[in-house]
């Protein structure tokens, strides 16, 4: 049975709070991040945040690499950051069987990759802190795998590609990106193009260069959150990460030129779907201090969220849409925000587009209601606070800030900016971002014959 979950829309689940740097943290009185923490910086540029969280006997150990599919600049290498994530589980000389060791400790360990990040985590019992650090620091510095092992893992990645290849969400996402972007690497999805995924077994040499350029102490931030001795952890950090050679090479990512005209495309999905209208706008980069950036994220919520006037009209009252989803979360580089609608009747597609346009124009001319704005700020605050129950949740809540800025401290900036937003700021964002010339509209229809 699927869950039907009412409301509870939370914008920016990934945004985090933070604290003043320096020793023994101390939560600011009116700050949002409710935990003390300590930042450790090593000479090689490696940084670690140590956060005691009341979860008896447990801790989360999360390594955040500021590299994702955004960094796949070379032709034919789409999907490689994610593939490389798999290789990180193939062992080292010291510990050739990574899985065996983590299994013995019974830790929950996994990783994930997206546009701007590759994140590795272990969640387990606190007694294993040193073993975990030994293991993790070792694979980030001394990963070793041979070509046959590399080719075997490529097969698993192909399997992963296959299991979601025909999901309508991924399919639409591919079409949207290739239509909206001309240059920037956001043009491809994280899993990569199928041809590139099938060619992965040939990429052994390239994989070594990938590791050498990106898996460096300046590009990886560690968060340990849970029940552990902070002073002891600090000592261990120097011991296990101190010898890691710096050498990060930033990728040469081509910026996306300014879009100068609206784009429109109809695509035909080879499966079952109601029509989907996906309206995208080029958006600014994520920022904790830029009011326009933060206001853009809030705008998505107030104009198109599940509590918006438009949602009430089209989904609840008139029931012309099966669903209305707005994703206005920003990325490290300028990217897209989008409004996605599943339309019940294909004949209603153009009128629905007109509804969207009318809403946009309304937010460009009128000021958002004060209560709506305050409710949204409250939603963001509690959305954050509701997700801090475990060490893993606390660490994950810091991901967006850390990936985008390299630091945790920007969290308080982000929430301070949010608190300062006025209805004029929201209108300003609507005017600046939701411009016709920056729009890409994709209409996805079911191909003739559906899944046949």
């Amino acid at each position: 049975m699927r869950w039907l979950f009412v409301a509870a829309a939370t914008l920016l689940a990934g945004v985090t709070p933070s604290l003043a740097p320096g020793s023994l943290a101390a939560q600011e009185d009116d700050g949002i991040f409710p935990f003390d923490y300590e930042l450790v910086e090593l000479d090689n540029g490696f940084r670690a945040y140590l956060i005691p969280v009341n979860e008896p006997g447990r801790l989360a150990y999360v390594s955040m690499v500021r590299t994702g599919s955004r960094d796949e600049v070379e032709e034919g290498k789409s999907g490689f950051a994610h593939f490389f994530e798999h290789m990180m589980f193939r062992g080292t000389e010291k510990y050739p069987y990574y899985d065996g060791i983590t299994s013995e400790m019974g830790v929950d360990r996994n990783a994930f990759t997206s546009n701007d990040r590759t994140v590795y985590y272990l969640v387990g019992n606190s007694e294993y802190l040193e073993q975990i650090m030994d293991l993790e620091s070792d694979r980030f510095q001394n990963l070793a795998y041979d070509e046959p092992g590399f080719r075997t893992e490529a097969g698993a990645v192909l399997g992963e590609y296959s299991q979601g290849a025909l999901s309508s969400g991924r399919w639409l996402n591919e079409k949207t990106r290739e239509t909206a972007f001309d240059r920037h690497t956001y043009r491809h999805t994280t899993i990569g193009f199928e041809a590139d995924v099938r060619a992965m077994p040939e990429g052994y040499e390239y994989s070594k260069s990938f590791y050498a350029r990106f898996y460096r102490p300046e590009n990886v931030i560690l968060v340990i959150a849970g029940d552990f001795d902070v002073d002891w952890a600090k000592e261990l950090l120097g011991q296990y990460y101190g010898g890691w050679e710096p050498g990060y090479v930033p990728p040469d990512i081509e910026p996306e030129p300014e879009q100068t005209g609206a784009r429109e495309r109809t695509v035909y999905y080879p499966g079952r779907t109601l029509p989907i209208v996906n309206v995208n706008y080029k958006s600014p980069a994520w920022s904790a201090t830029d009011k326009m950036a933060v206001a853009t994220e809030v705008l998505g919520q107030v104009a198109f969220g599940s509590n918006s006037d438009l949602y009430r009209k089209l989904v609840i009252e008139e029931q012309r849409l099966q669903s209305l989803n707005a994703d206005f979360g920003l990325q490290r580089d300028p990217s897209l925000v989008d409004i996605s609608m599943m339309v019940k009747d294909a004949a209603d597609i153009e009128p629905i587009k007109a509804e969207i346009q009318a809403t946009i124009e309304r937010f460009q001319t009128e000021l958002v209601d004060d209560k709506r704005l305050e409710d949204t700020k409250s939603n963001l605050k509690y959305g954050y606070l509701m997700g801090l129950e475990t060490g893993q949740q606390v660490a994950f809540s810091l991901m967006t800030t850390i990936i985008n800025t390299g630091t945790l401290e920007a969290i308080e900036d982000y929430y301070a900016t949010l608190a300062s937003l006025t209805p004029e700021d929201i209108r300003g964002a609507a005017r600046a971002v939701l411009k016709e010339s920056a729009r890409t509209t994709i209409t996805m229809l079911q191909a003739e014959g559906g899944a046949e």
Partner: protein, 539 residues
């Protein structure tokens, strides 16, 4: 190692109605009216006080599930829960509810499995009063509004018509395995029902189902976390305002053990094949040999964990797919979570092997590879049954579980859900979570191997493939020919020698044992002969 491919994965944003947060489960409608007390709360409550927590969690257990769906109305329990979760109340319109929940960033939702419906919610202590009013009203004062019903039904139908059979084959193969094994029992149909049966459900049906099953003597109230004094008593008193009723007790299903290997091949245009196989067992949580089987199964196929032996054989050593696991309890929607599901207790379970999609690597090798993976898994199962665990695998599995199971109850919502499941299974004392470590510590290798012999076997099983060219698959399977595979890289000689044995591992089937169905034919409507469900009326 999932790769979120959304362009903006951090914005979990906007959970609109059908957010499909997975959670299935089961509940037994066992002794619906037997008084009980758990955790020090009043009768009919399950409490989990954690005064330091800033969160309060709710788990309202209604003792009715999809097994209570009337014939021809499969999906009714689920649609009822959906409407209560996403509908208006007498006090507030659905839109007003959304507006009131919004500043709290809180929500609530219902989930229906075979035997149980639960409504779960969670809120920060700052917002408890306002939240509880909305949550309570959704269950006690539903408006049964026509517009809400039309919206919720339409969303369900959209999923049934365009989602379930077309979006994620690896989950569909699991659902079809249960559909095969429980034919003719109250567990047969998927909780969401079939396209045709949901189409036939009316608002009056929902109202009648609610009146019959949402009665005070059939509802258990679970509350956990940092709730204030006397709060639980208040919640119970609110639910005691519901009328009393008599609920039909559904007899436990008697699943079919097949004679030999019975195969369903579902034809679909695809480049990869998910595989599920398994058979019913009599094992349930709380049985004396449950932890013995947990230990054996964890070693053989721990869910989404490389500790799984099947994973090592099929994925790690051979790179054939993304993962290979086995189960002794129902584990719906495992693709989206590593943690075991809660509130899916059932009186009957399958032993189940899940082979995630096997891709073709050359234009014509999909069936060879799919059958190779199936043979590999069956061969490993045979080996387990014949030789049991060794002292070494037993100890490593036990040690793994000693640590790994500590993650099962990491949040107050999960701990509370486990307590509800304990009540279902009749597990007393400190409950299931607290019993895991001592249960493991007490085991011996002999007990584990005895349990394996008792509960596992290799001759009688249901098998599901979803694949293109079903006739070609059937032909290859019937031929008994070996199905070897090749690799992109070099492999050690020992592995290649083992491959030759796997490729020729027998799967004994006759033509009559194989059924082919088109993707359009499954889950569209109930099987031709309606299921007769035996029920006893019970106060």
């Amino acid at each position: 190692m999932n790769a979120p491919t959304s362009i903006r994965p951090q914005a979990r944003a906007f959970i609109t109605s059908l957010a499909l947060i997975g959670a299935a489960w089961v509940g037994a409608i066992t002794t619906a009216c037997a008084p009980f007390e758990t955790g020090g709360g009043p009768e009919g409550t399950i409490t989990l006080p954690e005064p330091e927590s800033p969160y309060i969690a709710f788990n309202i257990w209604v003792k009715a599930g999809s097994q209570n769906d009337p014939a021809g109305k499969e999906g009714l329990a689920a649609l009822t829960a959906s409407l209560l979760s996403a509908g208006s109340t007498i006090a507030d319109s659905y839109q007003a509810i959304l507006e009131k929940l919004y500043p709290m960033a809180a929500g609530y939702g219902g989930s229906v499995d075979k035997e149980m419906t639960v409504f779960r919610g969670r809120v920060h202590e700052d917002n408890l009063e306002d939240y509880y009013t909305l949550f309570k009203n959704s269950l006690l004062q539903p408006a049964f509004n026509e517009e809400d019903f039309a919206r919720v039904k339409s969303q369900t139908l959209n999923y049934l018509e365009r989602g379930r059979r077309y979006n994620r084959d690896e989950e569909l193969s699991k659902e079809l395995l249960f559909w095969m094994a429980y034919e003719g029992t109250p567990y047969e149909h998927p909780e969401e029902g079939y396209v045709e049966t949901v189409e036939s459900i009316t608002l009056d049906d929902v109202r009648a189902f609610y009146d019959q099953h949402y009665v005070r003597n059939s509802i258990v109230v679970g509350v956990g976390g940092g709730y204030p004094d006397a709060f639980v008593e208040r919640v119970r008193a609110d639910f005691d305002l519901l009328p009393e009723g008599s609920v039909a007790t559904v007899n436990a299903p008697e699943p079919m053990i097949p004679e030999g290997v019975k195969v369903l091949i579902v034809e679909k245009d695809t480049k990869s094949t998910p595989i599920s196989f398994g058979f019913p067992t009599t094992l349930t949580r709380g049985d004396d040999d449950f932890f013995a089987m947990v230990t054996a199964n964890s070693w053989f196929g721990e869910h989404r964990n490389s500790f799984s032996h099947l994973y090592q054989v099929i994925r790690d050593e051979r790179g054939m797919n993304y993962g290979d696991y086995s189960y002794i309890e129902a584990f719906p929607r495992g693709y989206r979570t590593q943690q075991p599901p809660v509130n899916v207790p059932r009186r009957s379970h399958l032993f189940e092997v899940w082979i995630r999609p096997i891709s073709l690597t050359e234009p014509d090798n999909l069936h060879e590879r799919s059958l190779f993976a199936t043979r590999a898994a069956m061969r490993e199962l045979e080996h387990l049954v014949e030789t049991g665990m060794t002292e070494e695998t037993f100890e490593s599995s036990r040690k793994f579980l000693h640590n790994y199971t500590q993650k099962y109850g990491t949040t107050v919502s999960r701990r509370l859900s486990y307590k509800v499941d304990d009540e279902f299974y009749g597990i007393g004392g400190e409950g299931f979570l607290a019993s895991i470590r001592p249960g493991l510590a007490d085991l011996s290798l002999e007990e584990v191997n005895e349990a394996i012999r008792t509960h596992l076997q290799t001759t009688d099983m249901w098998v599901v493939f979803i694949t293109a060219d079903a006739a070609g698959m059937k032909e290859l399977l019937l031929s008994g020919e070996p199905t070897p595979i090749t690799y992109a890289g070099d492999k050690p000689d020992e592995l290649l020698a083992e491959d030759a044995e796997i490729a020729a591992f027998p799967i004994p089937v006759d033509e009559d044992d194989i059924t082919i169905l088109g993707i359009e034919e499954v889950f569209q409507s109930p099987r031709a002969t309606p299921t007769e469900v035996a029920t006893d009326e019970q106060e």
